[in-house]
């Protein structure tokens, strides 16, 4: 008996490994996606190890050195120094920390309710439950996310937490729609019917039967959305509604530096490129995943 279960387990493991290998094979067919993944891993490592690999980790926090302000790129300061005399390179690397954190937290907070609501709406397709949920998403999607995010953050004390909260508040409807589209088509499928007839609870049907079938598009969309969330966060901090000083925040750095163009270009060009690179990497990886999962439209 036990032996059998072990064999089963091993078989499923092997199966899983095969699936992974096949996925990786498909993924690695696109060199750009692989490049994106490599860049992303590098960025992730750099962000995680920021205090150890940056030349002046102290300058990411409470620090001023007005004597050394506005120095051009040199060997001591790869990306030059900013208005307050801080090393731009150090702050860009630390800035990645907060960008990634923002993306992860926002998607963490936003995806779960969206998915749950989407599943519920899909399961109760055609009833008032669906109508209420889906019409509410319509309201949230009636204006571009940046506009609502601005309206909300402008009302709250600007800091990283509130920024995350505001964006997360706007993110669930997208997942709600996505999951609704998939789950409402699953609703009439054989296995859902069967589970229903066998008396499974609604929660079981939602999370055990329907959810696994929605995972591929959700995962792909999340990867692509990481880029969008980071972009949105950068836009908000560009306006001044994001994390507050001295937090190194890429959008804020671009806005700050822009005041000193064209003379001290390094203060804005490098953080701007940093934003572009991380978003690009997420897009490339997302595209790769889309190929692997053969997701049509997310």
């Amino acid at each position: 008996m036990r032996q059998e279960r072990k064999a089963d387990f091993l078989a499923s493991l092997a199966q899983r490994r095969r699936t992974l290998a096949k996925g990786w094979y498909k993924y690695s067919r696109n060199p750009l996606s692989v490049l994106g993944l490599v860049v992303l891993v590098l960025i992730g490592l750099a962000a995680a190890l920021a205090p150890h690999i940056t030349p002046y980790p102290a300058q990411a926090g409470a620090y001023t050195d007005f004597q050394n302000a506005g120095k051009p790129p040199s060997f001591e300061h790869f990306f030059g120094t900013d208005r307050i005399g801080r090393d731009v390179f150090t702050r860009v690397v630390f800035g990645y920390r907060f960008s990634l954190l923002l993306g992860i937290v926002v998607l963490g907070l936003g995806v779960a309710p969206g998915v749950v609501l989407g599943l519920i709406a899909g399961y109760h397709r055609g009833t008032w439950v669906e109508a209420v949920i889906m019409r509410t998403t319509d309201v949230f999607l009636a204006v571009p996310p940046l506009v609502l995010a601005l309206a909300i953050t402008a009302m709250l004390t600007p800091n990283l937490l509130n920024e995350m909260f505001a964006i997360a508040l706007l993110w669930w409807p997208w997942y709600c729609r996505l999951v609704f589209a998939v789950s409402s088509s699953l609703r009439s499928q054989f296995f859902v019917r069967e589970a229903e007839l066998s008396g499974a609870s609604e929660a079981h049907i939602l999370f055990r039967e329907m959810l696994p079938n929605c995972l591929a598009p959700i995962l792909t969309k999340m990867t692509l959305d990481m880029g969008i969330v980071i972009l949105l966060g950068a836009s908000l901090s560009f306006i001044g509604l994001g994390a507050q000083p001295p937090t190194p925040c890429l959008g804020t750095m671009v806005a700050d530096g822009a005041k000193r163009l064209p003379g001290e270009w390094w203060g804005t060009i490098f953080p701007a490129l940093a934003i572009v690179i991380v978003i690009l990497a997420f897009n490339l990886v997302g595209d790769g995943l889309r190929d692997v999962f053969a997701v049509e439209e997310v």
């Binding site: 309201v139 009636a142 996310p145 163009l261 270009w265 934003i275």
Partner: protein, 354 residues
């Protein structure tokens, strides 16, 4: 005698009207919900709009007078009732920031943004289509590769970064383009007819003003357009590539139809539909990106006004601004829908049947 096609068209129009009516009703409900949402956001979060409105030299008496005037002393539903009543009379209240009726502000600022967005749309459609068609037609060529790279970059670059880069290179380093505003300060603006600087100048016969206004328009519009050039380019490319492989395009060639006709008529029409479909969403993105681009280029437009009023907790203006965006979004989506119906006969036939 009524030809069969006439009858068909009549039926199509009739059902189209019904469809449009249904969509309009839906939009009204969505906007209604949106107004409650934004009203809630604006009024429930603590803060003092009166102080923001009157400045720091306002006395407590003055502040109280403003609160009463704006019904801020009443409960949320009552405030909403007053607002809704005003709306039905075409009155969106007075802006705390400009101290003028919000409607006056909107009339002043919307055309500038609209001009920018329309120009950006024009650029993105022309360049995006051109790029997409070329890349799709010559797929897997060097041009396709380059356009793929450009697209990836274009999609990944935030519009404000593009705006700053463009301003940095073209106006600050190369001095090729003007950097801010709609026309040079000392140039006399034409009398306002449409609110579009270029168009108004032409109407007034001020050709040089029109030209200069156009040069001012280029950088901000291009900053807005880049991401859409990239996206539309990609979409068009893949649908061109997909359609190129279709039997009917081969058949057109077999039947000796000339290449230009095949590309610009038979290939473009089906290929342009995915682009048109996303145009509604694109418009929303243009609108929100305008918030940042107008900030960079000091464009005296609606988006900058919207941003300022939001930052100043200008309740009436804020609600109006969000609703205007919602409304334009709804209208644009409807227009896109109608446009698709006219572009895509299969949709038209379906809609007629249903």
């Amino acid at each position: 005698m009524l030809s069969p096609s006439r009858v068909l068209e009549g039926a199509v129009k009739d059902t189209m009207l019904k469809y449009i009516g249904l969509r309009l009703v839906q939009s009204v409900f969505v906007l209604f919900g949106l107004s409650i949402l934004i009203f809630f956001i604006a009024r429930v979060v603590p803060g003092d709009p009166a102080r923001a409105m009157m400045g720091y030299l306002a006395t407590q008496d003055q502040l109280q007078a403003v609160r009463v005037e704006m019904h801020l002393d009443k409960s949320f539903p009552v405030q909403y009732y007053y607002w809704l009543r005003g709306l039905l009379h075409g009155d969106l209240g007075r802006s705390a920031y400009t101290k003028r009726p919000v409607v006056t502000d909107l009339v002043q600022y919307i055309p500038a943004t609209l001009e920018l967005i329309l120009f950006a749309t024009l650029i993105s459609v022309v360049l995006g289509q051109a790029m997409g068609i070329l890349a799709g037609y010559f797929r897997n060529s060097w041009f396709d590769g380059v356009s793929r790279l450009v697209s990836y970059l274009g999609i990944a670059t935030p519009s404000f970064v593009i705006a700053i880069l463009l301003m940095f290179f073209f106006s600050q380093v190369l001095h090729l383009a003007p950097s801010v505003g709609r026309i040079p300060i000392m140039m006399t603006a034409p009398p306002t007819v449409t609110g579009f600087m270029v168009l108004d100048s032409l109407l007034a016969g001020q050709f040089s003003t029109a030209l200069v206004a156009l040069t001012h328009l280029v950088l901000p519009a291009f900053s807005l357009a880049v991401i859409h050039i990239a996206q539309e380019g990609r979409i068009t490319r893949s649908s061109i590539a997909e359609n190129l492989g279709k039997d009917y395009i081969t058949m057109h060639r077999v039947h000796g139809i000339r290449t230009s006709r095949i590309v610009f008529k038979y290939l473009l029409r089906p290929s342009i539909i995915p682009t048109v479909t996303v145009m509604g969403l694109d418009f929303a993105f243009l609108m929100s990106n305008a918030f940042l681009v107008e900030l960079v280029f000091m464009w005296p437009g609606f988006a900058r006004y919207a941003l300022t009023t939001m930052l100043n907790k200008d309740l009436n203006a804020m609600v109006a601004v969000v609703l205007v965006i919602g409304l334009t979004f709804a209208v644009v989506n409807l227009l896109v829908d109608i446009l698709i119906t006219f572009l895509d006969p299969t949709v038209r036939i379906q809609r007629r049947g249903g």
